[in-house]
Amino acid sequence: MLYKLLLKLKQSVFLNFISLYKNRVIEDGGTLVNSTTLDNLVSTNESLIMVPSGYKAAKLYSVLPEDGSGDLTVTRNTEATYIDENGSIQISPFDTPRFDFSDNLIEPVLLTEPSSINLFFGSAILLTQNVTVTANEYTVSFYGLGTINFTGVYTGSLVGTGINDLVSLTFTPIAGSLICTVIGDVTNGQIELGDYASSRIITLGTSMLRAAEIISGAGDVNTFNTQEGVIYLKVKLPQTLISKNMTINIGDASNRITLEWMIDGGFRAWVRFNNEGLYVQSIAYDFYSNYSEIAFIWDNLSKIMELYIDGVSLGTKSFTAEPTTNFNDLSFNILESYNFYGKIKELKVYKSILEAEINLPYLI
């Protein structure tokens, strides 16, 4: 009974945090998006919480800290598209975070993508055309019930399955002219380098570029505890292969906690103090089929780190180096490189391992 009362009290205290957050977003001129993840938050143990629910140009709001010091800066030098809660394609202006509903129409996720070029012209309603390609991997994708037949430097076809269904085909042609013969209704057509269909890039008379997102600059020395903590991430990658290692970092180049997705499909979580880096590694993990929960612990008092994915420990590692600076930044990259691209549902940072264990009991 007493426990239930305390839980209810705690929930009501936290609901105030949610209300404060929502007020802050509105007063700052931001936009709020409905999020059940946000509404179901019941904890204030975290020093930083980002749930995709509030944004404006160049800013991705964090629920905690309350003072806004955990808000992230977003840059993207072009417009980009996303799928809204009605399943429609919407345009996101320059530098604006994208909350995407393409996985389901219930809960938004933060979508960050690398740059991409759609080589089709007139993508809205695609007509027969040829595209000059190199001997690299390309993905063609579209909505509709029509078909694209490929001849020239590649032979094959891609058949549509519905006006709201995105179909895609990945292949490697030889260099030259790819003839794409369109039969029937093919809408929002796209041909781009890479092994997956990225968000729609709307073209007219020429090819069109969507620039990459760069997200950085959350927190200060009060947000993070260099001596111990936990970073928690609920994440999914849209592609089975990445072209360059991707990272999410707390700290600077010399002293940092790093989550790193590697080109070979592996995943590592690092503690790097005074330029000495050690990590716990997963040889290969499927971040593509479902959302995965990553929790990484660093404990400078016990000199040990531990990585959990989906509630299972992937191992511990001891380290000896001492930090020479305190963490004061969380960014989706390191030194403006190795940007993270994927989909994020939740990002949380704890300054105390004990506090994290309350919310993530599998850490005990």
Binding site: N77, E79, S115, I117, L119, Q129, T206, M208, L209
Partner: protein, 132 residues
């Protein structure tokens, strides 16, 4: 912001790697332009003058020719150096021949670019003014 189109006859990737080693920060993000010949790139800089430093660096290991720059509303940027000003002949020099598939005749028709063709667009930016 300004988008700059330039051609570089050196090894851009090698140059980028060397730049990170030398200065500890990334070089310009560049995009190959599908409608232009190999070695022709588009980049985006905050201020047009920002590009000059990179231009000088490229010139240490090759030749960088700036075709021109444009702002988000499609206007040509006010180039300080004459060599960076837009000229139709310079622009046309880097355009590929245009290949168009004729589905009736089932053959490829190849025509020379006139210089009036716009190339790789930037989503949300107004089309570049490529008239003199």
């Amino acid at each position: 912001m300004v988008q700059i189109i330039f051609n570089y006859n050196g090894d851009l990737q090698a140059l980028k790697d060397a730049y990170i080693l030398e200065f500890g920060k990334s070089f310009l993000i560049t995009y190959s332009i599908p409608e232009m010949i190999e070695g022709t790139y588009l980049t985006i800089v905050k201020n047009a003058d920002d590009f000059d430093t990179y231009n000088d660096y490229m010139d240490t290991n090759g030749i960088c020719e700036v075709i021109s720059g444009w702002t988000e509303n499609g206007n040509k940027y006010a180039a300080k150096k004459d060599k960076n000003k837009f000229e139709k002949t310079k622009y046309k020099k880097y355009l590929k021949d245009i290949q168009t598939w004729d589905p009736v005749k089932e053959e490829m028709i190849i025509t020379k670019a006139t210089g009036n063709e716009n190339v790789l667009g930037l989503s949300g930016w107004i089309n570049r003014n490529i008239n003199l």
